[in-house]
Amino acid sequence: MFRNQYDTDVTTWSPTGRLFQVEYAMEAVKQGSAAIGLRSRSHVVLACVNKAQSELSSHQRKIFKVDDHIGVAIAGLTADGRVLSRYMRSESINHSFTYESPLPVGRLVVHLADKAQVCTQRSWKRPYGVGLLVGGLDESGAHLYYNCPSGNYFEYQAFAIGSRSQAAKTYLERRFESFGDSSREDLIKDAILAVRETLQGETLKSSLCTVAILGVDEPFHFLDQEAIQKVIDTFEKVPEEEEGDEAGEGEAEAAAVAPAEQGGAGAGDQDVAPMEM
């Protein structure tokens, strides 16, 4: 989209019925590093790519615990995301205090969406520049929602946001029908494979991604580096065998990169498990 005379104010409509400031805010989400969410009937997995500003700095935290039964992954302006996470935590605590029961995630995302909508209808505010993948539980099981700066929210079986998320979405589109009955381990594996898609050629290491999981009998927690590396090792270790099973479709997506990956993965990464080529 190009600059035009209707995009200065969030409270100015364009003649074609668009609010450009809101759409620009959604662009900010697309610039952030990727965040991915998938769910089965009982679990939700959130994963994101750890992007650091420079080699000298640490990476920003993009996945936050809201409560034992709700977690959120963000993409876009991480500062906005942090502030919204604090709001979500506060809502969750207040609900628990008043009703002595956990806040159903479906209610939380409505509060969040309403809060975002306010910023699209005040001349002294700006829309939040962050997209949120909210994973959580209610009485009917696990749910995944996407909240965008416009104030809309959608429920998903699996979704990816941020830069190069299209690659992950393509992978997820192929696989999502099986997620509902997936085991916890398969769900984690699919999440990490989806993250790999967004890396497009760069070798997948446990230090490059953060993964968190929550489930019906499992409070929200992050997976540690060793656990992630173990999952990576199951599909990175024997690249030839991958052609046969589930990662095979993933390979097709990065087909041009596959030969380079097989060679590069072995030579380039001394700290990952040695490739049996």
Binding site: K65, R86, R89, S90, I93, N94, S96, F97
Partner: protein, 223 residues
């Protein structure tokens, strides 16, 4: 014309007694399970002990509705702390928070008589006693509630150093072993139950150590 007094009180006393004893690497927190009002018994099985954090356990006698409200506030504040600091609150930190929370309602107090027990940052047992508006002090042992006047002098007799003027200076921890402390607690409660009508039914004992919390239940006289 004499000043008219309220014919309704927002408070009630549900009775009961709470005790805590700190050791070198443990803390024992105990309370009876009787909840009463006036001369009647409301429950023989009501717990007055509440875990606030991994290393901080609160035991409160007094008006249990206020106690419950106080516990809920502290629990929410602890959750906020964990989100901000990525770790659990230490016992001394919780002690200060409890004091501030109580004083916050200085002009409509929580009718709660608290004893906070736990492990400090060095892993040693600690006990904090409070009044209703938040004045607190770290001690080696404490008792609150309807039986406290019967129990406290006995604990002083058994655990207090003879005189602060004597040397060598003793620290705030009592030199009891864990088994001796639990035994002492059972003894004092059995005695308090004899003469205090609001104390009895069952004794709940929580033993807090670095590796976790153990709970024990002992019968007391039901009359």
């Amino acid at each position: 014309m004499t000043k008219q007094h309220a014919n309704w009180s927002p408070y009630d006393n549900n009775g009961g007694t709470c005790v805590a004893i700190a050791g070198s690497d443990y803390c024992v927190i105990a309370a009876d399970t009787r909840m009463s009002t006036g001369y009647s018994i409301l429950s023989r099985d009501y717990s007055k002990i509440h875990k606030l954090a991994d290393k901080a356990v609160l035991s409160s006698s007094g008006f249990q509705a206020d106690v419950k409200a106080l516990q809920k506030v502290l629990k929410s504040r602890h959750l906020i702390y964990q989100h901000q600091h990525n770790k659990q609150m230490s016992c001394p930190a919780m002690a200060q928070l409890l004091s501030n929370t109580l004083y916050f309602k200085r002009f409509f107090p929580y009718y709660a008589f608290n004893v906070l027990g736990g492990l400090d940052e060095e892993g040693k047992g600690c006990v904090f006693t409070y009044d209703a508006v938040g004045s607190y002090e770290r001690v080696g042992y404490g008792a609150q509630g309807s039986g406290s006047t019967l129990i406290m002098p006995f604990l002083d007799n058994q655990l207090k150093s003879p005189s602060p003027l004597l040397l060598p200076k003793q620290d705030s921890n009592t030199p009891l072993s864990e088994a001796e402390a639990v035994d002492l607690v059972k003894t004092v409660f059995a005695s308090a139950t004899e003469r205090d009508i609001y104390t009895g039914d069952k004794l709940e004992i929580m033993i807090l150590k670095a590796d976790g919390i153990k709970t024990e239940l002992m019968d007391l006289r039901k009359d």
